[in-house]
């Protein structure tokens, strides 16, 4: 959350990995990123919400993969050779979880000063902004910085078809 980020003044700037999703730019803290992989077929998890594509074998660990397009209720697109899976380490009450998200393409790593992160907009009750950390403007593009700990909390994987 923006407030947490503001409170932690010792961490004045951070690096963010930005990626493209249906023409929009999103960013996640690079320290949360474990690795970036090409898309490969995953095993379905029965009766899981539709944004959970399935489970992947990551060197012996079973990692759930989440399609952010479905999660954010965007239109579906065929996976292409540039489709990537970003493997993230998510902190939750239960500990650290490794979870992958599917994005159209990764674009850049940006150094972002804390002071430059703008408060997330108030979009009314229609759009849930709980999962946003804030907004950063880069070359006239708006980058939405995600709070992955909130977005990918396994407790949230139930009955919430689309958010944001």
């Amino acid at each position: 959350m923006a407030n947490d980020a503001m409170g932690n003044q010792s961490n004045m700037s951070g690096q963010y990995l930005t990626f493209d999703l249906a023409g929009e730019m999103y960013g996640v803290e690079i320290l949360k990123v474990q690795e970036i992989r090409g898309w490969e077929k995953v095993r379905n998890i029965p009766n899981a919400p539709d944004y959970i594509k399935g489970a992947l074998n990551l060197r012996g660990e079973v990692v759930p993969i989440i399609d952010l397009r479905v999660r954010f209720a965007m239109e579906n697109r065929e996976f292409t050779p540039v489709t990537v899976v970003i493997i993230l380490c998510v902190e939750s009450e239960q500990g650290t979880n490794v979870i992958g998200v599917v994005a159209d393409a990764v674009s850049d790593v940006l150094d972002i000063k804390l002071a430059d992160i703008k408060e997330k907009p108030n979009l009314g009750s229609k759009i849930d902004t709980r999962f946003m950390r804030g907004i950063y403007v880069y070359k006239h593009n708006m980058i939405m910085l995600l709070n992955v700990d909130k977005l990918l909390n396994p407790d949230e994987f139930e009955g919430l078809p689309s958010l944001l």
């Binding site: 095993r43 998890i45 009766n47 979880n97």
Partner: protein
């Protein structure tokens, strides 16, 4: 202290608990009759190392307590004291008390002072009531302020009061009181009280002179010489007096000087004061305020890391194997580097070797987790000893196959159910001595705990030669409690299994040993959660045997892979009864929906996998097109309707919950040979799911 001792605490606790186990089993062997000096020596050594360790880590309460035990043991060892049953019982009680103290310290909880004091008193009475004066548990008035004092007092046996008044030029000779205090604090609990009366006004102050004097109270078993050693260097440069501590007086002293110690903290005029603030070790010990002990943070046990002791032999084998593996790998890469078709034999050989090494490596890695079952069994002699005394029964316990190795997880999870079973055998199985003689049996009852391997499983048996289970009695009890339909026809086996039902109890009255009717159902559930099963055989008047069948390891499973459309699932091989192709006339529909099929006069529900898991790519949709896998999971039987059977394989169990969450109908995941993930089915969960 320059080294962070906390890092060694875990090891200390483990060793201490092991030591306690050794003491316990030694003590139990003692009361069997003949006195073996080697046994006493073993007990003594264990006690001694606990005392040493706790002293090193500053757990004075533990070391003081152990010291008293040690004194008693020492006299026994030298033959100065007869070994009596009473003494052994007191020592056993003290072992329990020590164990509680240690686990309290480990969990950072408060030690139960009352019970410690009680046990200590019992020990001292055993030591011929020697000296109640300096360590009898004095009972100060229970007011919040005295809590601290009480804690300190009961944690202490002896100590020293040191008045240290350095001459003004002490610092010039290169002596640093702070360093000396630090050394003192390593000897025991140190309280430092500073006297600021000698400090001149600021403009008169010579920073190179020492104007302070101290009263030090050092607690613990410290020798006078050790203190003298520390003050050796400043002899002649200070006024020093060292007195043996009288606790009451010391406390009064401390309270009197308390205000000045408060002053000290607020006067930033001397380097020593800043040092005091830097050194929490010293500062903490100054009673600036009477903080209630209760304010101490309580940490849960969950955070403790677990470790396991491994035989070095096992590690050596492992290292050898890794060596072999590296050699094979380099051989293969050599072949790969300059590959030509004529080297195909080379390659094949290498692959065969690789496979063999990998398998061996896997086996020996698994072996590391294996512990002998004696880890569980070793607690039973004590349990049987205590319980048989309590119930006035005469019982001999026989342990067979203690060296059988099982997975660590199994060892941890099986001990509680086993305790329950043994208690039951003791309480319900074995008769009173008089009844046994009347029945023509030996007076002493026999309980046998046996462990052995059978197939890929480990079998643990609890056998008693008691009165056995009475089928009619069980049946009537169950009907009486409304757990069973009076008209039900039961086989012998089903009759015995009544005791596993929740709420079933045959005990006439509830005792603290058994009779509440909870327990056996928990036992069975625990064992089933380990993937095992439990069976009873019994003969009236002759005895009963309860056998527990457990898989050797929880990390690897024999599985049958099945196909449903594009999906592959794994069914635990142990739960498959058979696989059949069915025709339409075997199928019945209940209310047009619930499908059942007949299998040898039994009607079982059909679980359509593609429905339950919503697999759209399923090939077989009509029951006659696919296969029915008849499975039995924890007593729940059903037929799984699948496209095809693929093959049998050993699969390594991977947690799905680690990164995701529980999925109904799935117990865990695994990784197939091609690197893809497959889900392992949970039969009872599947049945629940299909009923929704």
């Amino acid at each position: 202290m320059s080294i962070d001792m906390a890092q060694f605490h875990q090891v200390f606790f483990e060793e201490s608990f092991e030591g306690l186990d050794i003491m316990e089993s030694g003590l139990l062997n003692l009361d069997m009759g003949d006195v073996d000096s080697e046994v006493i020596n073993t007990i003594f050594r264990a006690a001694h190392s606990i005392k040493g360790g706790s002293g090193t880590f500053g757990f004075t309460a533990v070391s003081d307590f152990t010291h008293v035990m040690e004194t008693l043991l020492d006299e026994m060892r030298d033959g100065r004291r007869q070994i009596t049953q009473a003494a052994v019982d007191v020592l056993l009680g003290s072992v329990d008390c020590l164990r509680e103290m240690l686990s309290a310290i480990q969990d950072e909880n408060d030690i139960d002072e009352v019970s410690v004091a009680e046990h200590k008193k019992a020990l001292e009475i055993e030591l011929n009531g020697a000296s109640g004066k300096d360590n009898s548990p004095a009972t100060p008035v229970e007011s919040p302020e005295t809590v601290v004092i009480k804690e300190m007092e009961s944690a202490t046996e002896s100590g020293w009061k040191i008045s240290f008044c350095p001459h003004a030029d002490l610092l010039k000779t290169g002596n640093d009181p702070v360093r000396m205090f630090r050394e003192l604090s390593e000897l025991g609990d140190l309280e430092v009280i500073v006297d600021l009366h000698g400090v001149p006004a600021l403009f008169e102050l010579d920073p190179e002179e020492c104007h302070l004097s101290w009263t030090l109270i050092l607690k613990g078993n410290v020798k006078r010489e050790e203190i003298d050693d520390i003050f050796d260097w400043v002899e002649g440069e200070c006024d020093l007096s060292i007195q043996e501590l009288n606790l009451g007086e010391a406390l009064v002293n401390m309270q009197q000087t308390e205000p000045s110690s408060l002053v000290e903290q607020t006067t930033p005029s001397d380097s020593l004061i800043t040092e005091n603030q830097e050194n929490p070790e010293l500062k903490k010990n100054i009673p600036t305020s009477s903080k209630p002990v209760q304010a101490k943070e309580k940490k849960s046990k969950g955070a403790a890391s677990t470790s396991i002791r491994v035989d070095t032999g096992k590690i050596d084998t492992l290292i050898n194997m890794v060596g072999e593996l590296v050699i094979t790998q380099s051989m293969l890469s050599l072949v790969g580097e300059h590959f030509s078709p004529d080297k195909i034999d080379h390659l094949k050989n290498g692959l065969v070797q690789l496979e063999r090494h990998t398998r061996e490596l896997q086996e020996s890695v698994m072996n590391i987790r294996m512990l002998p079952i004696s880890f569980v069994f070793s607690r039973f002699p004590r349990l049987v000893h205590d319980l048989s005394t309590k119930l006035d029964k005469k019982i001999e316990l026989k342990l067979v196959g203690e060296h059988t190795e099982v997975d660590k997880t199994v060892v941890e999870l099986i001990s509680d159910p086993l305790v329950h079973l043994v208690r039951n055998s003791l309480d319900h199985g074995i008769e009173m001595p008089a009844d046994r003689i009347a029945a023509g049996k030996p007076e002493v009852g026999l309980i046998t705990l046996e462990a052995y391997h059978r197939g890929g499983n480990i079998v643990i048996e609890v056998k008693d030669d008691g009165k056995g289970l009475n089928k009619d009695f069980l049946r009537n009890k169950a009907i009486e409690k409304g757990l069973l339909d009076p008209d039900a026809v039961l086989t012998d086996k089903q009759c015995y299994e009544l005791i596993f039902m929740a709420g079933f109890s045959t005990a006439e009255k509830v005792t603290d040993v058994s009779g509440r009717g909870v327990g056996m159902d928990v036992v069975r559930r625990n064992i089933q959660s380990l993937g095992g099963n439990i069976e009873i055989t019994s003969h009236l008047g002759v005895g009963s045997t309860i056998s527990i069948n457990l898989p050797l390891t929880l990390a690897i499973l024999d599985g049958q892979s099945i196909a449903v459309g594009d999906e592959t699932f794994i069914v635990p091989l142990g739960s498959i009864i058979e696989s059949i192709k069915i025709n339409d006339n075997m199928v019945n529909r209940v209310a047009g929906k619930g499908e059942t099929f007949r299998l040898r006069d039994e009607y079982l529900p059909i679980v359509r996998m593609h429905h339950v898991f919503n697999v759209k790519s399923a090939k077989a949709t009509k029951l006659t097109e696919g296969l029915l896998v008849v499975v039995d999971g924890q007593g729940v039987r059903c037929g799984l309707f699948v496209d095809d059977l693929l093959g049998q394989q050993q699969v390594v169990i991977k947690s799905l919950e680690a990164n995701y969450r529980r999925v109904e109908g799935v117990s865990s995941a695994t990784i197939l040979g091609d690197g893809s993930v497959a889900l392992i089915l949970d039969i009872p969960g599947l049945v629940r799911l299909s009923n929704q």
